[in-house]
């Protein structure tokens, strides 16, 4: 086990904890940079989703995980970003300008939504953002001069300063670049007084207010920042799916983002990325299982002579092929995570790490939750 020897207060807020950290993150960076050269192009395309969802996850993590404001309407911000970007591109704006404008517009929208949100907490805020997202979705389908309604809008691959990012590999690097930028920005914000104010608001609004944190400013800042990052994700999202239609940005997408931050682990940027990996790679995984389980089970049945296994495999395959099963599996995982591991995948990772670093001395009770009684949120 490593014991960091602290010689200055700045050590607590450094970007990387120590040299070992730098080494591991460097290794990760090299792996992420080299991997697309070795992988099949299809898998490169699927991994790009990880980065886009990662940006979405960081955006929502700032709001939900760090400031404690729950939004059930983040798909609306994603949609605003995507449509604004596509609109400006179509009208001949250079790529960088279009992205800048898209981010600016979503930030402004976030600010506008954030202002009334200052008076609400908890469930009311969730419902208000939900209402906002339903209204915005209707706007997408009706404002045909900008969004082309249900006829949809085609978005080509980006061309930046004359460089075309046409194939999946180059687009992968573009998304990776923006994810790293967003992570760096967010990490810096979080270790600055702004981030500490957000965390204080999350832990107790009254305490934060008494310590001199201006709730109105910091809450609207969190909303605006989160929306702006979502707008950036929206611009990349538009290029990735290549065809925008209003019904993409529905409540289920917002719920998927919340699932991402919860399964990943609330209150950590690592969690946002773990969650992004999970959400982006589960659907392809289900598809692979759907295709392979019946065959492999049938082979198993033939080789061992246990025939019922084959029919079980066929039944599982048929079940996975039914429409809507994916949402149910997401729901089941969400329920299990909240019941069994409220800290999410990152929490589990920390436990595993602690187990090995303190090897024979690990106590399960280190992470045992204290006995908790019902905390009333009716009295804020």
């Amino acid at each position: 086990m490593r014991f960091p020897f602290k010689t200055s207060y700045n050590q607590d807020i450094r970007l990387f904890r120590d040299r070992v950290d730098v080494f591991w993150y460097g290794l990760l960076a090299v792996a992420v940079l080299v991997l697309p050269l070795l992988m099949d192009e299809y898998y490169v395309g699927e991994s790009t989703w990880v980065f886009i969802y990662g940006i979405c996850g960081v955006s929502l993590m700032v709001l939900v995980g760090y400031t404690g404001l729950v939004s059930l309407g983040h798909a609306a911000f994603l949609g605003i970003g995507a449509y604004a970007h596509a609109f400006f591109i179509m009208h001949g704006a250079p790529w960088v300008v279009a992205v800048g404008l898209a981010v600016a517009i979503t930030t402004a929208c976030g600010l506008i939504v954030g202002l009334p949100a200052l008076r609400m907490t908890g469930i009311y805020l969730a419902i208000a953002t939900l209402a906002f997202s339903v209204i915005i979705q209707e706007v997408f389908s009706r404002w045909e001069s900008v969004t082309h309604g249900f006829a949809g809008m085609k978005v080509d691959r980006p061309v930046i300063f004359g460089v075309a990012f046409a194939d999946d590999r180059s687009f992968y690097y573009l998304c990776l670049f923006f994810l790293v930028i967003v992570l760096w920005l967010t990490r810096n914000l979080l270790r600055a007084p702004t981030g500490r104010a957000w965390i204080a608001i999350r832990d107790s609004e009254i305490a934060a207010q008494s310590m001199g944190v201006n709730l109105a400013i910091y809450k609207s800042m969190a909303f605006a920042y989160s929306a702006g990052v979502m707008g950036l994700a929206g611009a990349l999202f538009a290029h990735k799916i290549a065809f925008l239609a209003p019904d993409i940005f529905n409540i289920l997408l917002s719920i998927q983002f919340l699932l991402l931050v919860i399964v990943g682990g609330l209150g950590s940027l690592h969690g946002a990325l773990f969650g992004a990996v999970f959400v982006a790679l589960l659907p392809p995984l289900i598809a692979i299982l759907r295709d392979s389980i019946p065959d492999s089970m049938a082979e198993f049945a033939v080789s061992t002579g246990i025939t019922p296994v084959a029919s079980v495999g066929a039944a599982v395959g048929a079940f996975l092929a039914k429409p809507g099963v994916e949402a149910g599996i997401f729901g089941l995982i969400l329920v299990l995570v909240i019941l069994l591991e409220p800290l999410g995948m990152y929490g589990r990772w920390l436990k595993i790490k602690l187990f090995f670093s303190t090897f024979p001395m690990y106590k399960a009770s280190t992470f045992k939750r204290q006995k908790s009684y019902m905390r009333s949120e009716r009295l804020r």
């Binding site: 008076r119 209204i135 099963v325």
Partner: protein, 279 residues
């Protein structure tokens, strides 16, 4: 008006659970769908009488609600409200998948004994809509009498006001929670069955209704039972008038616009009370 009553009933389910346990049940709409499907199975597949099917569906879904509370939601008491909201969203997604896997994505019609129409002074009233309004009134009357005039109902009121005090008075708080979940789920099932002839039964019928019922519950002030019904009727009327008078597209969004305005102007709702924490 009739659809507003349905919103009111579903909102009532939200409010009951919220008042008692401070959980917000996002799966309410899916319980509604399940209720309608169970009734459909009883009536069409097993050939039972409509009323028998009605009772079976309400009892089955009510028992399911109690089970849900016992097995799943008991575990998360004391965790932040947000976790519970996500938990019920997850449960709702599971129910929807269950419904679509079990009953497929076809649309079913529930046969009802309410086929006719009455014509009073030039106004045609279909029995279906009247049945919804009458059903809502009867359910509310029963619930009102139950909460105010029975020992159990008063115990439930006490529990929702102060759990610790209720516990000290010898009220089995855990059992009360389960019962409230059962009542709330049963009300949702009843709403689903009443709604079935109007919107037809499919796996997504609950989601749309639940979202509007939310608006209703917030409009009336989360935590106020008459407020929920009143809010439901208002939302139903707003939807009707917006559909009739405003341009296309406003029918579905008008309730949400009203909801947002309400949250900005008076976040505690029409009948709610605002409380501040004392430090």
């Amino acid at each position: 008006m009739a659809v507003g009553c349905i919103y009111g009933l579903v909102a009532l389910g939200f409010v009951l659970i919220y008042k008692a346990t401070e959980l917000v049940n996002f799966a309410q709409g899916d319980l509604l769908t399940l209720g309608a499907f169970v009734c459909y199975m009883a009536v069409v597949w097993w050939g039972l009488d409509y009323w028998v099917g009605f009772v079976i569906a309400v009892v089955v879904i009510g028992a399911f609600g109690a089970l849900l509370d016992r097995v799943v939601l008991r575990q998360v008491i004391g965790q932040p409200q947000f976790a519970v909201v996500m938990l019920t969203i997850g449960l709702g997604a599971m129910f929807r998948t269950f419904a679509s896997v079990t009953w497929g994505s076809e649309i079913y019609t529930l046969p009802t004994p309410f086929g006719g129409v009455w014509t009073i002074g030039g106004v045609t009233l279909s029995h279906q809509y009247l049945s919804i309004i009458a059903g809502t009134l009867v359910l509310c009357g029963v619930l009102y009498a139950f909460f105010n005039h029975t020992r159990l109902g008063v115990a439930m009121q006490a529990t929702s006001q102060n759990q610790l005090a209720a516990y000290y008075m010898g009220i089995p708080v855990k059992l009360i929670f389960s019962l409230i979940w059962a009542i709330s789920a049963g009300v949702a099932a009843a709403a689903g069955i009443l709604l079935a002839p109007v919107t037809l039964i499919d796996t997504n019928m609950g989601l749309a209704v639940a979202l509007k019922a939310f608006a209703a519950a917030v409009l009336g002030g989360f935590g106020s039972i008459p407020g929920a019904l009143f809010g439901g009727i208002i939302i139903g009327l707003i939807e009707l008038y917006a559909g009739a008078t405003l341009p296309e597209g406003f029918k579905d969004t008008a309730p949400y616009i009203v909801l947002l305005l309400m949250l900005i102007v008076r976040p505690q709702g029409l009948f709610g009370t605002l409380t501040r924490k004392k430090v």
